[in-house]
Point group: C2
Chain length 320, copies 2
């Protein structure tokens, strides 16, 4: 049987030199902050049967566990630097651990984000990651920074993750190839770190967040924090490639209130449209203008002709 | 039913101004590092039925969840500054949340350590805290810094938490008042933050860690990392007040290989004995000299007369 210490040594401690001043193996990791930069920090917890199915592929789970945290850094415009991993496992299964750590490190290496410490214990499968990043003071893309007149933008596409779930729950019938393609979006989200950095660089954008619980609910956080309202052009919302082939009502519902998208929703002054498009181009990320921040409170949905839409939608609440 | 957002607002978001540049409510918290200081970061996860019993008092659980993390900062000699809390809960129970948050904030306020963000989700009761502290470069009390000839010291007392467990498991018979007193040590550990800071200030000590899995196992980490050995005077080990009234064999076993003590084990040069005692006095923490770091590998146990003891002991392994 693999001991706690062997488990860490075998799957999570790496020989390569890290950037941390002191990494895995002491009571704390030690980091030396970059002078003059602020720190961004965020924690996310993933629970079996809540955030992923029992028996989920460990490689994809390792990827996703870190991806959802990097997405929080992206939404702030922060550069990833380090993370801790706390892991409760029903058993120390080497096959699972090998897959999980490979998925985790493939993504962490791609972003130069180093595993510096954590905790392992026996328990119901639960993954808690805390990421640390850094950014220039005053450049954070905060939720309370949207201004009246700002355009609202979305990165990438929305709704395919929700569509995959609908396929699994048999809410909709998908052919197997479509289902597999949509499921890939659900299991392997791409955190928009490069776009977030480009948007925070000037800064080009005002407010931003990542869409994890559905656009309407998440955009609502920007509106509340910034004390503004908005109109959203529902038919301008970029649907995922599989969802784009579904009927209009479903497309609207899942782009507006999907979940698990991990795209950025951000606002930027009209004068920065060219700069936003350039940030998208430079980071290899599609960006689509989908609405406008307004002084009038509330969120108004309109179709391509500007006709108001009245749709029943709800965000994701973990305790509802 | 309490929503996720109401839950955070009602129990975890506070009106008082914090030190964080941006606290709860955005994708990330923002911290502005103190110029010239290093960061110490550590994560611990507590799982129901593993680290605490189902039905555990929520106030004490809130205290302990943060205490075990602050203990990691103490063992590094770092000053606590901020923490994140990720919480999986079977249900959003206001009574539980009220008690838990009171216990958590009573300790965080006492140490000036601010809750800056986190995550809440439904799931088996699991608490994951990540603490951040800061310290002067080169002053961290690392596990690999013990030197041949160093004294070995212990803060406070050992073994009462393990004795409380033995009482609950009916390994030993304790009278109810003794059991309650010992259980207090198990449920409400005092992280030795002030002592850790005093030891790191000059620095007075070389190596340190916190004793969470039993002294023998934890001291073994210092010996391995520092590539040294040690002799421990078993009868010099400070037993908790309840354990001190038990028979010798039990006292030896639970001081050597208890668990859940959250005391510091540290090494310091012989020339710093007066400074160590002064650090203990200034921080209001008892410190006891219990052994010596030696060049010869391995850990040797001796009694008060220096006679070698051969005891069967094992540390705590979460996957054994």
């Amino acid at each position: 049987m693999l001991s706690e210490f062997d488990l860490i040594k075998q799957f999570f401690k790496r020989d390569r030199p890290g950037r941390a001043t002191l990494g895995i193996g002491d009571d704390c990791a030690l980091l030396t902050p970059v002078p003059g930069r602020q720190l961004a920090i965020s924690s996310d917890m993933l629970v079996e049967d809540r955030h992923f199915f029992a028996g989920a592929d460990p490689f994809m789970l390792g990827h996703k566990s870190l991806a959802v945290n990097l997405s929080d850094l992206a939404a702030m415009g922060a550069r990833p630097s380090a993370f801790t991993l706390a892991l409760a496992l029903p058993a120390a299964d080497p096959v699972w651990l090998e897959g999980f750590s490979r998925g985790l490190f493939a993504l962490s290496d791609a972003h130069g984000c180093e595993l510096v410490g954590g905790d392992t214990t026996k328990g119901p499968l639960t993954i808690c990651i805390t990421v640390v990043g850094d950014l220039a003071p005053g450049h954070a893309l905060r939720r309370d920074a949207a201004q009246v007149g700002d355009d609202i933008w979305i990165s990438g596409t929305l709704g395919d993750a929700r569509l995959a779930l609908a396929g699994s729950w048999q809410e909709v019938t998908l052919d197997p190839a479509d289902h597999a393609q949509a499921a890939q979006r659900m299991h392997m989200p791409s955190p928009r770190v490069a776009l977030g950095l480009a948007l925070a660089a000037q800064p080009v954008a005002h407010a931003a967040l990542d869409i994890s619980d559905g656009l309407v609910g998440d955009l609502g956080h920007i509106l509340a924090a910034s004390r503004v309202g908005a109109t959203l052009d529902v038919d301008a919302l970029p649907a995922g490639p599989v969802l784009a082939r579904q009927e209009l009502a479903l497309r609207r519902r899942f782009t507006l209130a999907g979940g698990d998208d991990y795209e950025l929703c951000f606002t930027a002054p009209v004068g920065n449209r060219a700069a936003v498009l350039e940030a998208g181009r430079a980071s290899g990320t599609a960006v689509t203008r989908v609405g406008r921040i307004e002084a009038e409170a509330g969120l108004r949905l309109v179709d391509a002709d500007g006709t108001p839409l009245h749709l029943e939608l709800s965000g994701w609440d973990h305790f509802s």
